[in-house]
């Protein structure tokens, strides 16, 4: 941030094809996200929303085109601490009990050295991340004892623990009750005010709408709308689905329908 020249885009896809096993789900994607933007990425199941995120994070291969993160080609990008990721999948509970603080700490590891104890700054960052999502009183609780919405907030805290410049959230409100959605919206507003760039994947903006500065609508692997939130196509128009808790579209091939047409 001390760079005097204008900051490069946080994310810059150029003619990018992203997919699995050689088959693109998203084709010819051009997308630039500037620092400080709060982008809502909307689209029905299978439209390629999660694929874009997975491509961004290096979890799905780039089959063509290019992607630059903070001005650096993805192949050479190593500064993953600048990117915080909140997955859609509910994977916080393993076979062994672990506390909220233990799970959140695993988000801090990109800034920690192995074989050394956590520094004071690391503990402070973890505590702060837990506080931001409003779980300070549950920090020592086994994460499996939290409600679904609280677990989602713990995953956001995990992403925040590395103090990222870009926060990517995949369906953070799916299956989350209204009260927890409000807390999530407040959390994102706080982060946005602090200058964090946010990419939010969702079926519907709901309580997040006031925070969003730019909306992208995706259908069949292509961006069909890019602009202010209020003009975005309503999800109930033209057959947009509205299913909560469905699995991400990875590998379903549902996003293929519009490609090559």
């Amino acid at each position: 941030m001390s760079d005097p020249s204008p900051a490069p885009p946080a994310v810059a896809f150029e003619a990018a094809d992203i997919g699995y096993e050689g088959v693109p789900v998203v084709a010819g994607l051009d997308l630039e996200i500037r620092p400080g933007e709060v982008v809502g990425l909307l689209g029905p199941n299978g439209s390629g929303k999660s694929t874009i995120v997975r491509g961004l994070l290096g979890l799905a291969p780039l089959l063509g085109g290019s992607l630059r993160l903070f001005g650096e080609d993805r192949q050479r990008f190593r500064d993953w601490r600048r990117v915080g990721y909140v997955p859609q999948r509910q994977t916080v509970t393993g076979g062994v009990p672990s506390t909220v603080r233990e799970v959140v700490t695993s988000g801090r590891l990109t800034r920690v050295r192995p074989f050394q104890p956590l520094r004071v700054a690391d503990r402070a960052a973890v505590d702060h991340a837990i506080e931001v999502v409003g779980l300070a009183d549950r920090a020592g609780a086994p994460i499996a004892t939290l409600s679904g919405g609280q677990q989602r907030r713990a995953l956001i805290a995990r992403a925040l623990a590395s103090e990222p410049d870009l926060l990517v959230l995949d369906e953070p409100t799916a299956g989350v009750d209204a009260a927890n959605q409000e807390v999530l919206a407040d959390t994102l507003a706080t982060l946005a005010a602090a200058g964090t760039t946010i990419l939010l994947i969702t079926h519907e903006l709901g309580p997040m709408a006031p925070v969003i500065t730019r909306t992208l609508a995706l259908r069949a692997g292509r961006i069909v709308y890019d602009g202010p939130a209020q003009d975005a196509p309503d999800e109930h128009d033209d057959g947009w689905h509205h299913h909560h808790g469905e699995p991400p579209e990875r590998g379903t091939g549902l996003g293929l329908s519009g490609i090559g047409s």
Binding site: L57, G58, L59, R78, W80, R81, V83, Y85, P87, R89, T91, V92, G94, G95, V96, P97, S98, T99, E102, V103, T105, S106, G107, L109, T110, V112, P114, F115, G140, A141, P142, R158, S162
Partner: protein
Amino acid sequence: MALEVLRYEFMQRALVAAVLIGLAAPSVGIYLVQRRLSLIGDGLGHVALAGVAAGVLTSNEPVLTALAAAVAGAVAIEVIRARGRTSGDVALAVLFYGGIAGGVVIISQAPGGTPGNLNTYLFGAITTTTSDDLAIFAVLTLVVLVVTRGLGRYLFAVSNDEEYALASGLPVLALNLALAVVTAVTVVVAMRVVGLLLVSALMIIPVATAQLVTRSFRATGMVASALGTVVSVLGVGTSYYVDTPSGGTIVLLAIAVFVLVAVGAAVRERLSS
């Protein structure tokens, strides 16, 4: 009574070996339980058996040949897993049963060798630990503890959510390999007093017992290692007095403790609700 046990040098060695494996096995096992790979230690025990047999056949130190076989098997498993193919499960089965079948066949070729010779390696015995073994076990246990403690947060992150670990740029393959290798190393530390077929039990059961009463990953690890050490030492002592194979005795003790704690935890839950 206790003094009588300690009078014999073979018992001193067996008890030291018991402490080492009691500490090491749950330290590794907790990550295996976390990623729901509880049976991987069992498979590596099968693979190590082929190494033991090769050592007997070629008159090499079986502990070292077992170590080589188990580490090679562990690396192979991680490579198969990293490929992520659905046939990976079958590949693992082939590797494991290949290990035990190879062990039985190879040992039959050794001078005077019969598969019966493998019994002490499979189920543990208190009379077999040599002082050379102990030196090797001590070094190996140190490796296991340094890796599982020093990389503990990283192994936790990868075991808890591998996809997230990948997305945050952690060296997931290297961490998985490190865990696989220390699992193999632990299998070898277990081969004298616990036995290759029972080592997995000592990795898993103390962890399963500990998590009945703990709330955090860290506490689970500490309680599990304490339990592992206690049942190993008691098992070796019992094995001396009752004249039973030490591995089976240790595991039965571990299971008894698990059942007691599970019943206790259930009763406590009843009373508090």
